[in-house]
C-alpha cells in the first residue's frame, strides 16, 4: 500500500494538474494580498484586517477552493485512468481494485492537504502582518480550527467526487452541480433537506465562523436555523467519507470500463 501511495504521489507531482492546483491554491492568497493593499489605502478608517480571517477561511476556502479542488481531483481518481486509458495497467496487476483506489485517494488527499495548508498559512500570515507576531500567535486557535475543518471537508468532498468519478462517465458536470447548486441552495432550506449536504456538517464544525459570515442571511430567514452538534457533524463526515470510499471501491470492482472498442 505504501508503495502504491508513493507511486501515485510521484505521478501527481509530475503532472500538469499539480501546477493548476497550486495556481488555484494561490487564488485566496492573492485575494488576501489585495485586502492588505486596500487596507493600506483605508489606513485612516482603522480596519482590523485580521478580523477578516474567519470570512476568508469560510468563504474562499470552505466554499470555493476546497470543493473546486475536490471536484477536479476527486473525479479524476478513476476518471483520469479511464480517460487516459492507463486503467488497463492497474487492472492487469494482482492487486484488488479497491487497494489502488484507496491508495490514489490517499495520495491525492495528501497532495491537496499540503496545497491547502500552504495556501491557508500564507493567507493567515498575510492577514496578520499588521498585528505583528503577537497577533499571529493569538489567533492560532482559529487557524487550527479552520485547518481541521478543511482537512475533514477535503476528505469528505474528495471521497464523494471520487465516487462520482467511479460511477459516471463524465463526473465533473454532476459534481459541479452538486457543489455549487445543491449544496449552496439546500444548506439554507428549512426542514431536513440540508442534512443531505456536506456543507451543513462543515458549517456545524465552524459555528463561530459560520455565524460571522452568514449573519445577514440568517437574520433574513423566516425560521430558526439550526446546526448539527459538533460531535454529530464530525461522526457524520467520517461516515460519509468511509461510505463514499466503500461505494466507489465497490463500483470500481463491479463495473467494467470500456477503454475502447475494436
Amino acid at each position: 500500500m505504501t508503495f502504491l501511495i508513493r507511486f501515485f504521489i510521484r505521478i501527481q507531482l509530475k503532472s500538469r494538474r499539480l501546477a493548476a492546483t497550486a495556481l488555484l491554491g494561490l487564488f485566496p492568497v492573492a485575494v488576501c494580498l489585495l485586502l492588505i493593499l486596500i487596507r493600506s489605502v483605508l489606513e485612516n478608517h482603522d480596519v482590523s484586517i485580521h478580523r477578516l480571517y474567519p470570512q476568508v477561511s469560510f468563504f474562499l476556502y470552505l466554499h470555493f477552493l476546497l470543493p473546486i479542488l475536490a471536484v477536479f481531483v476527486g473525479s479524476g481518481i478513476v476518471g483520469d485512468e479511464a480517460g487516459e486509458q492507463t486503467l488497463s495497467y492497474l487492472t492487469s496487476r494482482p492487486i484488488p481494485k479497491w487497494k489502488w483506489y484507496l491508495a490514489k485517494f490517499l495520495a491525492q488527499l495528501m497532495i491537496l492537504g499540503v496545497v491547502l495548508l500552504i495556501s491557508l498559512l500564507l493567507s493567515y500570515t498575510l492577514l496578520h502582518i499588521p498585528g505583528g507576531i503577537r497577533g499571529w500567535l493569538e489567533d492560532l486557535p482559529n487557524l487550527a480550527t479552520s485547518l481541521g475543518v478543511l482537512a475533514l471537508g477535503l476528505a469528505a468532498y474528495l471521497s464523494l467526487f471520487s465516487l462520482f468519478g467511479a460511477a459516471f462517465r463524465k463526473p465533473v458536470p454532476s459534481a459541479l452541480l452538486f457543489t455549487f447548486g445543491w449544496e449552496n441552495l439546500v444548506a439554507y432550506f428549512p426542514g431536513n433537506a440540508k442534512l443531505l449536504t456536506l456543507v451543513h456538517y462543515l458549517h456545524s464544525l465552524f459555528p463561530t465562523f459560520f455565524r460571522a459570515r452568514a449573519q445577514g442571511i440568517l437574520g433574513m430567514l423566516p425560521f430558526e436555523f439550526r446546526l448539527a452538534g459538533e460531535w454529530t457533524a464530525l461522526i457524520v463526515l467520517i461516515l460519509i467519507t468511509a461510505g463514499c470510499l466503500a461505494g466507489g471501491a465497490a463500483i470500481l470492482t463491479l463495473r467494467e470500463y470500456r477503454l475502447d472498442r475494436d
Binding site: 505521478i11 495497467y89 487492472t91 496487476r93 494482482p94 463491479l254 477503454l259 472498442r261 475494436d262
Partner: protein, 305 residues
C-alpha cells in the same frame, strides 16, 4: 498454462464484440488474427479480465479471470492503446508496474532493469515517456508486460509502430518465449507478422471464430478450395504434360524462361502424394516448390469471403 474460452460472447448494447467463441490454447505462440474491428482486442480484454463476458466463460488453468486479480500474477498484458503516464520516465513506468506484483524493491529493480534491457531501451530509460517515439513506447510497454516473467503473455498488436530492427527483435523475443513453454497470445491484423511468429492461429472476423489451429491443417480443411502450387524445375514441359493427365488439376501455367510452372488443383492432398512419383519416374530435377495459397493471406481471404 491452459486458456479456455467456452461459448464466450461479449456485446455492447446492440453491437456484438465477440460471438460464441470456444477454444483452448496451450503453451506456445498463438496468433489472434483478423481485420481491424474483428473483435481481437475485445477478446484479449476478456481473456485478461479487463472486460466481463456477456455470456460464457474465460478460464486460465480452470480459474475464472473476471474480477480475479490473483490470477494476474501469472499474466502479462501489453495493451493495444498508446496509453501511458507520459510524465513518468521509462524506468519509473516499468519499475512502478513491476513493484505492483509484490516484489521487494531490489528484486523489482533487477527485473525492471532486465526487461528494459531485453527490449533494448536501457539508453532511454531515464527519459520521459512523453518524449519517446511510437516504437520506443511500444517497446517500453512490452517491457512492463514481461518484467515479472509471466507464464501467460497477451500482446495486442505489439509490433505497431516499430522499426524493422525492433520488429525483428520483438518477433525473436515472442518466439523465444513460446519455445520456452510460455503461453503467448499475439493479436495482429497484419498476416505476415503473425506468420513469422507462429503457425497456430485463431482466425476471427465480425466477432466470430472462423478457424483455429495450425495454419497448414486449416488449409487442408479447405479441401474444396483450389490450391496453387508453384514449382521450379528443369523439365517444365514434361512435368506440365504429366500433370495435365489428372482430372483434379484445373489448370497449369508455365513460364519456360523462368523454368517455372504453377498448377491449380482441387485435391491438394492427392496432388502432393502423386508429385514425387512423377518426378522420380521422369527424372525431373526440382529446384523449389511452394504454394502461394498456403500463407495466411490466402487462407484468410478464403475464409473471410
Amino acid at each position: 498454462m491452459i486458456l479456455e474460452a467456452a461459448q464466450l460472447s461479449k456485446w455492447y448494447g446492440p453491437v456484438i464484440g465477440v460471438n460464441n467463441l470456444s477454444f483452448t490454447i496451450g503453451p506456445g505462440v498463438t496468433g489472434f488474427l483478423g481485420p481491424n474491428g474483428a473483435g481481437k482486442s475485445t477478446l484479449l480484454k476478456l481473456m485478461t479480465g479487463q472486460l466481463r463476458p456477456s455470456k460464457g466463460t474465460v478460464r486460465i488453468d480452470s480459474r475464472p479471470v473476471w474480477n480475479n486479480p490473483g490470477i494476474n500474477t501469472h499474466l502479462g498484458y501489453c495493451p493495444e492503446q498508446d496509453a501511458f503516464w507520459r510524465f513518468l520516465t521509462g524506468w519509473e513506468f516499468v519499475h512502478g508496474l513491476t513493484r505492483m506484483y509484490g516484489f521487494a524493491e531490489s528484486e523489482a529493480c533487477e527485473r525492471a532493469r532486465s526487461a528494459i534491457q531485453t527490449v533494448d531501451m536501457e539508453a532511454h530509460a531515464a527519459r520521459r515517456i512523453g518524449g519517446y517515439s511510437k516504437g520506443m513506447r511500444q517497446r517500453i510497454k512490452l517491457a512492463q508486460a514481461i518484467a515479472h516473467d509471466p507464464d501467460v503473455l497477451f500482446l495486442d498488436e505489439p509490433l505497431n509502430g516499430m522499426d524493422p530492427v525492433g520488429r525483428r527483435e520483438t518477433i525473436r523475443l515472442i518466439r523465444g518465449m513460446g519455445r520456452s513453454g510460455k503461453t503467448v497470445v499475439v493479436s495482429s491484423h497484419i498476416l505476415h507478422e503473425v506468420e513469422e511468429m507462429t503457425d497456430t492461429i485463431l482466425l476471427i472476423n465480425h466477432g466470430r471464430q472462423l478457424a483455429h489451429g495450425n495454419i497448414f491443417e486449416i488449409r487442408e480443411l479447405i479441401d474444396t478450395h483450389p490450391l496453387k502450387v508453384t514449382i521450379r524445375c528443369d523439365r517444365v514441359n514434361v512435368l506440365t504434360s504429366k500433370l495435365m493427365e489428372f482430372d483434379d488439376v484445373l489448370s497449369v501455367e508455365f513460364d519456360r524462361e523462368k523454368g517455372q510452372l504453377t498448377v491449380e488443383t482441387n485435391r491438394p492432398g492427392e496432388f502432393h502424394k502423386r508429385l514425387p512419383r512423377i518426378v522420380l519416374d521422369h527424372d525431373i530435377r526440382i529446384h523449389s516448390l511452394w504454394s502461394p495459397d498456403e500463407n495466411l493471406e490466402a487462407v484468410f481471404d478464403y475464409l473471410v469471403r
